[in-house]
């Protein structure tokens, strides 16, 4: 086995990033394995936009080079279109920025009226509305049960809707995480127990979840084909959990988080047979 080389690149879409990487390595596309570290996302109104990040590894000569590549490649039919499409496949979720609000954007469950909310939802909603007002953010909050269907203990979702809400999401969802943390803290204090609520902004989390699930599946395929552990980008706890859950029942890989704090990331490990 000759030694393998690898390079990581990022660009506004996956195809461009791959081309850059190929140039850097000076090899043909057939001789590399493409790992998509992060799918591109244009965020909401440009805020929270992320480039595509990929890793190219020269394949060992014994390996049929085209096989491993076939998995991630079709995900990005970018060259067919003149403009690089920043968002991957499912258009209903990702291709709609916040501005297209009045059209059928994100598929949200029907909101619940105040009389049908329990105490958690009511207190959470009041707290969140107060916080938003003090932050001088104009937005509407709709409330519904998370459609997890697991049990009737699924959390209430406080979905924040409105224009220009990118600021409420922040880089890697940091602002949204802080807003949720403070809202829960205040509501839980008032309720004197853990408030069963989660926050979202314009369906950001649901979209992110879809992207992460797809990423997880594809990286699992990579791990199997490479026969070695594949490491994903650092992610916040909530996002790592989505990846772990997506692969929990996968027969051929296991997952594990490694690293500390902000650098903690998921690794996908092929199972030994």
């Amino acid at each position: 086995m000759s030694e393998t080389r690898s390079v990581e690149t990022s660009a506004s879409d996956i195809e461009t990033a791959i081309e850059q990487g190929l140039k850097e390595l000076g090899v043909a596309r057939e001789s590399v394995i493409v790992e998509i570290l992060e799918e591109p996302s244009r965020g909401l109104l440009g805020i929270g936009a992320r480039p595509a990040r990929i890793r190219l590894t020269t394949a060992a000569p014994a390996r049929p080079a085209s096989a491993p590549e076939s998995a991630p490649a079709p995900a990005k039919p970018a060259p067919a279109k003149p403009k690089p499409k920043p968002a991957p496949a499912p258009p209903p979720a990702d291709s709609q920025p916040a501005a297209a609000e009045d059209e059928e954007d994100i598929d949200l469950p029907a909101p619940v009226s105040e009389s049908d909310m329990d105490e958690d939802a009511r207190v959470g909603l009041a707290t969140l509305e107060e916080l938003l007002a003090k932050m001088q953010v104009e937005a509407e909050v709709v409330v519904y049960r998370a459609p997890e269907a697991a049990d009737n203990d699924s959390p209430w979702v406080l979905q924040i809707r409105g224009r220009d809400l990118g600021v409420l999401i922040g880089r890697r969802g940091e602002t949204l995480a802080s807003l949720q943390y403070i809202t829960r803290l205040i509501a839980s204090r008032e309720l004197q127990r853990r408030a069963n609520i989660v926050l979202d902004v314009e369906g950001y989390k649901s979209r992110r979840e879809q992207i992460l699930r797809r990423l997880a599946k594809r990286m699992a395929d990579q791990a199997i084909q490479l026969g070695r552990t594949v490491t994903l980008e650092p992610m916040p706890p909530y996002e790592r959990r989505i990846v772990h859950l997506a692969l929990r029942d996968h027969p051929e890989v296991t997952t594990e988080s490694v690293g500390e704090g902000e650098h903690r990331k998921v690794t996908i490990i092929p199972r030994r047979r």
Binding site: T127, G170, T175, S178
Partner: protein
């Protein structure tokens, strides 16, 4: 501008009457000084400063809207 911090702090402490937020203006940037009762310090700081940091992140949203730099100090 201080209302946000005041609201959060008062909602988290045992003694809201001792919550005080002072705005110190320094041209383009503003410092928000948060004072709470000694026994309540832990509540507004949190484990590893988690509460304080979350407050700072939210203050930043407000700061961005006003085109200012706002720093939050707990004293």
């Amino acid at each position: 501008m201080k209302e946000l911090v005041e609201y959060i702090a008062k909602s988290l402490v045992d003694d809201p009457s001792q919550v005080r937020v002072t705005e110190v203006d320094e041209g383009a940037s503003t410092i928000l000084e948060l004072e709470v009762a000694q026994e309540d310090m832990g509540r507004v700081i949190g484990k590893n400063g988690r509460v304080a940091n979350a407050m700072r992140v939210l203050v930043r949203v407000l700061a961005a809207k006003q085109g200012k730099r706002i720093t939050l100090e707990i004293i």
